[in-house]
């Protein structure tokens, strides 16, 4: 019989819970906020949560940073090498790539917002939506008669 609330299980998976909370926070901001810059911020939080997830899965219990132990002359300490567990460095390396991608996405998004601000004079999604609806309506009035009436 499994308990309804397994505290030990929860404690062992705390980093996943945090990852989920962070991820949902980010996604919620992206969906909920109408300010375009805030959306980018939400997207960043969302991406960071995934970085955390990757970094956390690289952890080996009892493991240390994957660097050879040095003696006081900065040579590899061969005696200390034995019996050391290292954390897995690969997820960290992967996430370096993802961080670079995240920066590129953020800067491109912000650059787009600058252009949007220049041509729409607002960075609020609802205002932009209204402007675009007006544009679409104007298009339809002008071009809607192709098949005997506005479509």
């Amino acid at each position: 019989m499994s308990k309804l609330l397994d505290l030990q299980f929860l404690a062992g998976h705390a980093h996943y819970l945090l990852f989920i909370v962070l991820m949902m926070t980010g996604l919620f901001i992206v969906v909920d906020k109408t300010n375009l810059v805030k959306k980018i911020v939400g997207l960043n939080i969302f991406q960071v949560s995934v970085f955390m997830f990757y970094v956390s899965i690289g952890k080996v219990s009892g493991g240390t940073a994957p660097i050879f132990p040095m003696d006081d002359k900065y040579h590899v300490d061969k005696d200390a090498l034995l019996g050391i567990a290292y954390s897995n460095p690969l997820p960290h390396v992967l996430i370096l790539t993802a961080i670079v991608v995240g920066i590129a996405t953020t800067s491109l998004g912000l650059a787009l917002i600058v252009r949007i601000r220049e041509s729409f004079d607002t960075i609020d999604e609802e205002d932009i939506l209204n402007i675009e609806q007006d544009m679409t309506r104007a298009d339809n009035q002008k071009h809607g008669n192709a098949m005997g009436g506005p479509a």
Binding site: V30, F53, L94, T97, L108
Partner: protein, 524 residues
């Protein structure tokens, strides 16, 4: 290890051994070269030469793997699964050929179209972005390393956002279209990374073949399953799978014409290939949950997409937007082919990827020619242009017929194979009979929306003030190459069909089709 495909230990002594990586590397190096030279006159020739080289390479590779087998390339000589491996079999060689073919054929068209639609000071960077996007798509398809897929996906996506936003010179809505796509595309790509993370947790490897091997060994667990969900949703966004398609109509409508041509024919197809590779090769189709996902989720969504998107397309007043909705419907056919899970249906899906790529590129090029000559693609603007631009419109008619699936065109072949696939499974469940009927019925909707365009083009009086003349040769030649392709592949069906069947066969072998390369550094 099965002995159907021979794997020669990688030594890369000859030029030919390097083809899988050159495929990606040539356009990849061209992009910075264009920026560094900074010459507007050199940008286009460089891009064109790089695309043509990529086309030749992909053709050679396809000829090599057409009968089965695969080409592998290990980056820097590091043996997989530790090193990054490029692996080309019939399935990706086919998609690589589609991407590089479209990339090469569209560039002359893009030259004429950019000159009209984009400020000339942006042209150099435009071609650099184009090359990056091209690289990303080729890399996604060529690589055999799961994380590499993400990296190339982002290379292609980021440059796509830039290319889309350049439509702002004509209509400022291109900016918001690019922004929306950036938000959705990034969420999709990040979902894909989460899925990969879960797979990495469960298998401890990133090499696709090794991953497939280990999943087959250990069977299913919850981590692997949720990884599958994340990967499918993430890639589904890029594919424009039905409820995740919202970015597509706006992006295609407001992007520069040539960019729409390129993206509609390649971007969704490359993502679709990744879905196939993950569903069939990494997750074995024998696993019940993968089959269930396909049958319970993919089939209904595909059928809904086929009908709803076609229905919406019927009521559009803009030719370009109509074609964008039609693309969503056509993706539905491809997903249906994947979900029916037989040799025939997967052949149909791969064939339709190729044929629809040709067809849609042709039609969007027609739109680009109208935009050039009539300054827009609303039906009121293109009315009667069939008489003023007969050669352009002739090609558009061939494309429209192929989109419907009229016998004698490429579109017919793939839809026919798809109906066959559904009928093959009809004896086991009447639902499949209904699906076959649905394919035919939704094609009838295509008749309606394509006929609307034909009627506007031919039967309406042209605007008396219109000064439209025939499109320039730089546009007509690519259009007629693709139009010729649509007809050629409609009659000479064997070549494409056999290759697609070989690709489908390789994919459906599942994990067996993905043998692990046992190198000296291998964990096996």
């Amino acid at each position: 290890m099965a002995d159907t495909a021979q794997i020669v230990e990688h030594t890369a002594r000859t030029f030919r051994d390097h083809l899988p990586v050159l495929q990606v590397l040539v356009p990849f190096c061209t992009a910075p070269l264009i920026v560094l030279l900074g010459s507007r006159r050199l940008a286009w020739p460089l891009a064109f030469i790089a695309s043509a080289i990529a086309l030749v390479i992909s053709f050679i590779m396809l000829m090599d793997v057409r009968e089965g087998g695969m080409l592998t390339y290990t980056m820097g000589g590091w043996a997989p699964p530790l090193g990054i491996e490029y692996r080309v079999d019939a399935a990706n060689a086919f998609v690589l050929l589609l991407i590089s073919l479209i990339g090469t054929v569209v560039l002359p068209f893009a030259y004429a179209s950019f000159r009209d639609e984009i400020k000339s000071r942006d042209h150099t960077l435009m071609y650099a972005c184009w090359m990056l996007c091209f690289t990303g798509l080729l890399g996604m398809v060529a690589t055999g390393d799961a994380f590499n897929v993400f990296v190339f996906l982002e290379i292609s996506s980021l440059s796509t956002y830039v290319l889309l936003a350049m439509g702002a010179d004509r209509d400022r809505r291109a900016l918001t279209a690019a922004y929306d796509y950036l938000i959705m595309g990034t969420i999709g790509a990040t979902f894909f990374v989460i899925g990969l993370g879960m797979l990495y947790m469960a298998t401890g490897t990133l090499n696709m073949a090794d991953m497939a091997d280990r999943i087959a060994d250990q069977g299913m667990n919850r981590t692997v399953r949720s990884g599958f969900a994340f990967i499918i949703v993430g890639m589904g966004l890029k594919v424009a799978m039905f409820p995740l398609h919202l970015w597509l109509p706006k992006a295609y409508t407001f992007a520069p014409s040539a960019v729409t041509v390129f993206l509609s024919a390649t971007a969704t197809k490359a993502a679709l290939y990744v879905v196939m590779r993950f569903t069939f090769s990494i997750y074995n189709p024998d696993f019940a949950f993968a089959t269930n996902t396909l049958e319970i989720i993919f089939i209904p969504l595909a059928v809904i997409a086929m009908f709803s998107a076609s229905f919406v397309a019927v009521f559009q007043t803009n030719f370009k937007r109509m074609l964008a909705y039609s693309s969503i419907a056509q993706v539905g056919y491809m997903l249906l082919g994947i979900a029916l899970l037989t040799d025939t249906s997967l052949t149909a899906a791969i064939l339709h990827m190729f044929n629809h790529g040709l067809t849609k590129a042709l039609l969007f090029m027609g739109v680009g020619a109208y935009v050039l000559r009539a300054n827009g693609s609303f039906y009121t603007q293109i009315a009667g242009l069939g008489r003023k631009m007969p050669i352009t419109t002739g090609a558009v008619v061939i494309g429209g017929l192929s989109l419907i699936g009229v016998p004698g065109t490429a579109g017919f072949v793939s839809k026919w194979v798809l109906v066959q696939a559904a009928l093959e499974r009809a004896p086991e469940n009447a639902m499949f009979l209904a699906i076959a009927v649905a394919i035919v019925l939704s094609s009838l909707l295509a008749v309606v929306y394509v006929w609307r365009a034909f009627e506007v083009l031919y039967l309406q009086e042209p605007d008396p003030n219109s000064t439209a003349t025939e499109a320039p040769l730089m546009m007509l030649i690519p259009m007629w190459i693709l139009a010729g392709g649509c007809i050629w592949f409609g009659f000479s069906t064997d070549l494409l069909h056999d290759t697609a069947a070989q690709a489908a066969n390789g994919l459906l072998q599942g994990t067996k089709g993905m043998m692990v390369l046992t190198g000296q550094g291998g964990a096996h």
